[in-house]
């Protein structure tokens, strides 16, 4: 069926291309009407219409007058945000949270995968994996609830240390809490992809290395690292590309009035200033600023991948 239609296209040549396409669409109408339509409609309505809504960022939005009736203010919101002292603070909080998160959080699953790969008994390995993956199924709210319980002045951590610090009110503790709990929850789950890549490492190669008397370090260098190198690179570049999109949910659930100095990031600020305070235009401008930086980062990273990957990008 598909072959005949391609042949038809070729036979019709350049002039009949449109007709051939129409014939194809008629023949395969289900592909359009049934298969792709729901996704297409959802995307247009819930992704593209809001994109038009970013116009709000350039106006003093008035809900009664709507997007096209409100007063235009040009780049006023952007200027106000970029020149406010808070701007640098929120930007740095966002960047620090994700960059430190990357530095500590990125190697953790790789290390776990290497360690798991060295467990000789399959049964033990499966049991360990069961434990390691478990925290992934705990919700953000419950995770933050556990963190708050353990770190409260009378909580387990203080009991063990013999102190009564209130960690949740300390701005200097926020990032550590955020990142450490992130590793606790996510490192095991994130190691799956590396474990899978490691299991693809040729056993023949490894056996040959062992027979040649290679020790563990040499085996890792010669056999295991090459097996996961590409995966590591792609994961790393994707993480760098997503540096500006730190999740809202966890940061917001770990915020207290007293740790805002380090816990207020752009996404939580957008929520507060927009939905809680009702500054729709300003909030949209801040969000747009974040998106633009993110897009630039992602495109740059994609170009880097393309260069390394013989012209094939991630997207």
């Amino acid at each position: 069926m598909s072959k005949t239609s391609t042949n038809a296209t070729k036979a019709a040549g350049g002039g009949g291309k449109l007709r051939a396409t129409l014939t194809y669409m008629k023949q395969h109408w289900q592909l359009y009407v049934l298969f792709i339509m729901p996704a297409f409609v959802l995307t247009i309505i819930f992704r593209y219409i809001p994109m038009g809504g970013v116009l709000i960022a350039f106006e003093e939005y008035n809900p009664i007058r709507g997007i096209f009736g409100s007063q235009w203010v040009g780049f006023e919101h952007f200027e106000r945000f970029l020149s406010s002292p808070d701007f640098m603070r929120y930007l740095m909080n966002t960047l620090k949270l994700s960059i430190y998160g990357l530095i500590w959080g990125f190697p953790a699953p790789i290390l776990l995968a290497f360690l798991l790969n060295r467990i000789l008994s399959t049964k033990t390995k499966q049991k360990l994996q069961l434990i390691l993956y478990m925290p992934n199924f705990i919700s953000v709210i419950v995770l933050c609830g556990i963190v708050r319980i353990l770190l409260s002045p009378t909580g387990l951590i203080n009991m063990v240390l013999g102190t009564n610090w209130n960690f949740m009110t300390m701005p200097e503790a926020f990032r550590t809490i955020y990142i450490a709990s992130g590793i606790w929850q996510g490192a095991g789950w994130a190691s799956i992809i590396y474990t899978a890549a490691l299991s693809n490492a040729s056993t023949d190669l490894k056996e040959a290395a062992v027979i040649d008397g290679a020790n563990i370090i040499q085996q890792i260098r010669a056999v295991e690292w090459p097996a996961i190198r590409d995966t590591v690179l792609i994961q790393f570049i994707m993480s760098v590309g997503n540096i500006m999109s730190v999740g809202f949910e966890k940061a917001y659930a770990l915020q207290t009035d007293l740790n805002l100095a380090s816990s207020e990031i752009i996404s939580t600020y957008v929520y507060k200033v927009g939905l809680l305070d009702g500054n729709y235009g300003f909030s949209t401008a801040v969000g747009l600023f974040n998106t633009v930086i993110n897009v630039i980062l992602l495109i740059t990273m994609n170009q880097i991948v393309k260069k390394m990957n013989d012209g094939k990008g991630m997207y």
Partner: protein, 303 residues
């Protein structure tokens, strides 16, 4: 047993420095596992201990101080059950809708001859980079009259481009012979898709379904901004007021006398709430474990 012995023999044969490295590695791995389990066990134990004792002396194995009052209070609270009911409803609906939309959309995108593939691909990909952001989306939902309805939480995110790519990659990995054989047998593409393709894709369907279910079950942001009525709150929002905002549901603590007692009870309720709310997924997830690797690998192909 014999195998284990053989493995032990292998370990003994290793050079000394390798043994050292391995032992250090095993210790790190062990410590990480303990770090995962220890807080959970602490929460479980603490949830059974009398609130005053817990605050004054911490964990105790004096069983006369143990109580199930926290569980009774949490389980007899209506809002928790409303939360569970809503969470199940939203997660199941979201999973069904998003899996159907994703499976359908991925099929034409997986075919080499699909005309318009480039166009649709561009349309979908752009949304991975760029979006309208919080306020424009909120205003749209409000305009559509979806505020404070469950559809605001379910529909907007029902089509995920990332999942579509993963499913598409999986479809492409299915041998073409299957399609050709089906065509020779006179099956049209509808029959091929539903009778031939989908049945061999159950691992990826299970994986995507699980991701969507867990994702919806555990999220709270959309529900927080779109749903106001207490009767529509999913579990995570109920948990948020108990665990994060320190506001236990009124009925849970109203009988206690002093403010101090109330605070202690509120604290204890947190432990029981954590256990009760996390149990369903933690119990269910091992049954899905066999799908993890296949699903993750399918996703890994494209990065």
């Amino acid at each position: 047993m014999a195998q284990a012995k053989k493995k032990k023999g292998e370990f003994a044969k290793l050079p000394k420095e390798d043994k050292t490295i391995l032992i250090i590695g095993y210790i790190i791995l062990g410590l990480f596992c303990i770090a995962i389990i220890a807080p959970m066990i602490y929460i479980i134990l603490a949830s059974f201990i009398d609130p005053v004792t817990l605050q004054n002396q911490g964990l105790t194995f004096d069983f006369s101080k143990w109580t199930t009052t926290a569980y009774e209070r949490v389980l007899s609270n209506a809002q928790i059950w409303i939360g569970f009911k809503n969470a199940i409803l939203y997660s199941v609906l979201f999973t069904v809708i998003s899996v159907v939309v994703t499976l359908l959309a991925a099929y034409p995108m997986s075919r080499d001859d699909f005309k318009g593939k480039g166009f649709f691909n561009a349309i979908f990909m752009i949304t991975m980079f760029f979006g309208g952001g919080l306020i424009p989306t909120y205003l749209l939902i409000s305009r559509l009259g979806m505020l404070d309805t469950m559809w605001a939480v379910i529909i907007p995110g029902a089509f995920g481009v990332y999942n579509m790519i993963i499913v598409r990659t999986y479809y492409q990995g299915i041998p073409k012979d299957l399609q050709e054989a089906a065509e020779i047998d006179g099956a049209n593409e509808m029959v091929y898709f539903f009778r031939v393709l989908l049945p061999v894709c159950s691992p990826i369907i299970a994986t995507v379904a699980m991701w969507n279910f867990v994702g919806m079950w555990n999220s709270y942001f959309d529900a927080m901004i779109y749903l106001n009525s207490a009767s529509k709150q999913p579990l995570q929002l109920v948990l948020r007021s108990i665990l994060i905002q320190n506001q236990p549901e009124p009925g849970m603590v109203s009988d206690t006398q002093s403010t101090a007692e109330r605070a202690q009870m509120a604290e204890l309720l947190k432990y029981a709430t954590i256990i009760i709310s996390s149990l369903p997924l933690l119990v269910m997830y091992p049954f899905f474990q066999r799908y993890f690797d296949s699903g993750i690998m399918a996703g890994a192909v494209k990065g």
